[in-house]
C-alpha cells in the first residue's frame, strides 16, 4: 500500500465532512444541535448537478447549491427560532424531507430515478500547487486536489478566526454558553442563532456541491450517505473547536481510506473492514471519556458526572 496515496485519499474523503462540520460547529457553538446537515448537503448536491447540467457553469452551480442549502437552513431556523420547534426534532424532519424532495425533484426536473449523470456537466479541474507540489511527502498529499478541497481546509482557520477573533464570534460563543447573559447584554440571541444556522446552510451547500460536482460528477438519491451525521459526531467529539473538529474528520477520512484499501491486501470480509472508521471513533470516544472522567474525579468535582 502506498501511504502517500492513502493520505491523499484521506484528504479527499474528509473534505465533505469538513465542510459539513465547519457549518455544523457554528450552530453548535451558538447552542444548537443542528442535526440536519445531511439534509442541507443533499439539497445542495442536487441543486449543483441540476444547475451544472442546464447551464454548464460550475460557478453558477455552486451558487445555486449554496442558495438551496441556505434556504433549507432558513426553513429550519424559522421553525426552531420563530415557531419554537425543537431543533433536533425539526432537524430530523428536514433530513428526511430533503431526501424525499430531492428524489422527487430528480424525477420531476431531470426525469431520472435514482441517479443522474450527464456529459453536459463540466468537471472540476485538479490544481497542482506551484511550490508545495515539489515538496517530497507533503506535495503528494496536498497538491492535486480540486479547488473545493482547498476551500474546505482553508475554512478551518477562517472559521476559527471568526469564532475567536471577531465580535461576531464572541457573540456566537456567548449565545451558546449563556444565552440569557447575551440577551441581557442586548445581543439578539435569536438573530445570532439564525445567522449561524444560515451559515451552516452555506457551508453545507459547499459540501453538497463538492460531493456531487467535484468528488464525483453525478447525483444519486441519498448520496450524502450520512456524512452529515459523521460530521456531527466530529463536532461533538471536538466540542466545537474548529481545528480539532477538522482533525477528527481527517482521522475518520484516514480510517475510511485505509478500510477501502485493506480488502485488496487482506482479503478480509468487507463488512469488518468497513467497521474500522466507526470503531476507531468509538474507541477514541471511550479513551477521551475515561481521561476526562479521571481528571474530573481527581479533583473531586460533583460526584455526579452528569451534564
Amino acid at each position: 500500500m502506498d501511504l502517500i496515496e492513502i493520505a491523499f485519499s484521506a484528504v479527499r474523503v474528509s473534505t465533505p465532512l469538513v465542510f459539513a462540520a465547519m457549518g455544523g460547529l457554528l450552530s453548535y457553538q451558538a447552542g444548537m444541535l443542528n442535526i440536519a446537515l445531511d439534509g442541507f448537503m443533499i439539497i445542495a448536491a442536487f441543486a449543483a448537478i441540476a444547475t451544472a447540467h442546464f447551464t454548464g457553469s460550475l460557478e453558477l452551480a455552486i451558487l445555486v447549491a449554496v442558495l438551496g442549502a441556505t434556504m433549507l437552513s432558513a426553513l429550519l431556523g424559522v421553525f426552531t427560532l420563530k415557531l419554537n420547534a425543537d431543533v433536533f426534532i425539526a432537524g430530523i424532519a428536514i433530513i428526511f424531507m430533503a431526501y424525499g424532495l430531492t428524489a422527487l425533484l430528480l424525477k420531476g426536473i431531470l426525469g431520472e430515478d435514482g441517479v443522474f449523470m450527464s456529459s453536459a456537466i463540466p468537471r472540476f479541474p485538479t490544481l497542482d500547487l506551484p511550490v508545495i507540489e515539489s515538496i517530497p511527502v507533503v506535495g503528494g498529499i496536498v497538491s492535486g486536489h480540486t479547488l473545493l478541497v482547498y476551500i474546505a481546509w482553508l475554512l478551518v482557520p477562517l472559521v476559527a478566526w471568526c469564532l475567536y477573533r471577531t465580535r461576531w464570534g464572541l457573540r456566537v460563543r456567548m449565545v451558546g454558553e449563556a444565552p440569557e447573559a447575551a440577551a441581557a447584554a442586548g445581543v439578539n440571541v435569536d438573530s445570532i442563532k439564525f445567522q449561524t444556522m444560515l451559515l451552516s446552510g452555506v457551508l453545507c451547500g459547499f459540501g453538497g456541491a463538492y460531493l456531487s460536482l467535484a468528488y464525483v460528477s453525478l447525483f444519486a438519491n441519498q448520496m450524502t450517505a450520512e456524512r452529515g451525521l459523521i460530521a456531527i459526531a466530529a463536532i461533538f467529539f471536538a466540542k466545537g473547536h474548529p481545528g480539532w473538529t477538522a482533525l477528527v474528520a481527517l482521522l475518520f477520512g484516514l480510517a475510511t481510506a485505509l478500510s477501502v484499501r485493506l480488502p485488496q491486501v487482506t482479503g478480509a470480509a468487507p463488512q469488518l473492514l468497513q467497521l474500522i472508521p466507526y470503531v476507531v471513533t468509538v474507541a477514541a470516544l471511550i479513551i477521551v471519556g475515561f481521561r476526562t472522567a479521571r481528571s474530573r474525579s481527581k479533583h473531586g468535582a460533583w460526584k455526579f458526572g452528569w451534564n
Binding site: Q29, I89, L104, K107, G108, Q271, L275, T281
Partner: protein, 375 residues
Amino acid sequence: MSAEVSVPPARRSITASPIFGKIAASLVALFISFLLGALLVLALGESPLEVYGLLISGSLVGMPNFLVTLQMMSPLIFTGLAVAISFRAGLANIGAEGQMLVGALCAGYVGYAVELPALIHLPLCLLAAFVGGLVWALLPALLRVYLNVNEIVVCLMMNPIALLLTGYLSTRVLKAPGPTNKLPDIQPTAELSTFSLFSQANTGLIFALVLCLIFAVVNVRTMRGFEWQMIGKNAKFAYYGGVDVRRRALTVFLVSGGIAGLAGAEQVLGQYRAYYDDFSPGYGFDGIAVAMLAQFNPLAVPLAALLFGALNGGSAVLQMMTGLSKHLVQVLQFIVVLVLAAKLSWDWLKLGRSQTAAPGSDPPAEGPHVTAGDR
C-alpha cells in the same frame, strides 16, 4: 390569602384545559401540514384531493388495506416506544436502528437454532431480542452514564456498526444457503402468527400495544416512572432528591434498547420468519419521528405510529393508482413531523400575536433538551 392569584374554577372553559389545548394544537398542526403537502402535490401536477383520498382509502378502508397499515405500524410502535421512554428520561437514544438490528439477529438465531415447544421458544426468542437490543444499548448507556460521553455521538456510531456486524454474520457466518443474505428460517414454534395473506401484521402488534399500555402505567403510576421523568426534567435535582440517577438512567437506556430489540423480533418472528440482512428501511429513525409526534407519551405512540403506518400503507395504493412515487409519502410524513414539532400552543393559535407571552413562559415539551455544548 392568594385568592387573587388563583383563577376561580368557574372561569375555566374547556379551551383552557391543557389536554384540550394539546389535542387542538396537534389537530391544527396536522391540518397545516396536510395543506403544505397539498401544495406539494399540486406542484407535482396531481390533485391533492385524489392523493389524500387514495392515501386514506388505501390505508384505512377495507380489511386488506387496514391490515397492511397494521403491519407497517407494528415496528414503529416498538421503536417509537423505545425512543419515547429514553427521551422522557433525558436520554437521546437515537440508536434504536442498531438495537433493532441486533435484537432481530438474536431473535432470528434463537428462532432457528433452538428447538423447543412454542410455549417456551417464542418467549425465549423475544427475550433474546430484548437482550440483544439491550446489549447494543449498553455501550452508549455506560459511556453516557459513567463517563458523560454524549450518547448521540455514540449512537450515531453504533448504528452503522450494528448494520455492518449483522451484515457480516448473516453474510459470512450464519448465512442460510440460497441467493439471499439471511439466516435459516426460524422454527414454526418461534413464529408470531399473522392474520391474513394480505399483510404480515402479526400478534407482535398486540404485544406492542400491551407494552405501550404497560409503559403508560409505568410512567404515571410507578416509582420508576416518576424517577425516570425527574431525571429527564432535571437530573441534578433528581440526584439531590435521592434518585440514584446513574442506575435509573442506565436502566431506562437499557430498557429502551431492549424494546428497540423487540422491534427486531416482531420483524423476524412475525414478518420475515428469518433474519434478513439489512431488512430495515429505517424503522429506528422513523421511531424517533413517531416518538416525537407522540410527544414521548406511550399512549400516543400507537397513534403516531398509525399515522406513519397509514401513510406507508396507503403509499402502495397511491403508487398503484397514480404515477406518484414513494418519495412523495416520505416528504408528506416529515412535513407532519416538522409542523408538529413547532410548538403551536393553543394560545398562540387562538390569539395570534396579540398574546404577549413572557420569554420562556411556554411549557417546555418533555424530553431532553438536546442542546449543543455542555454535554
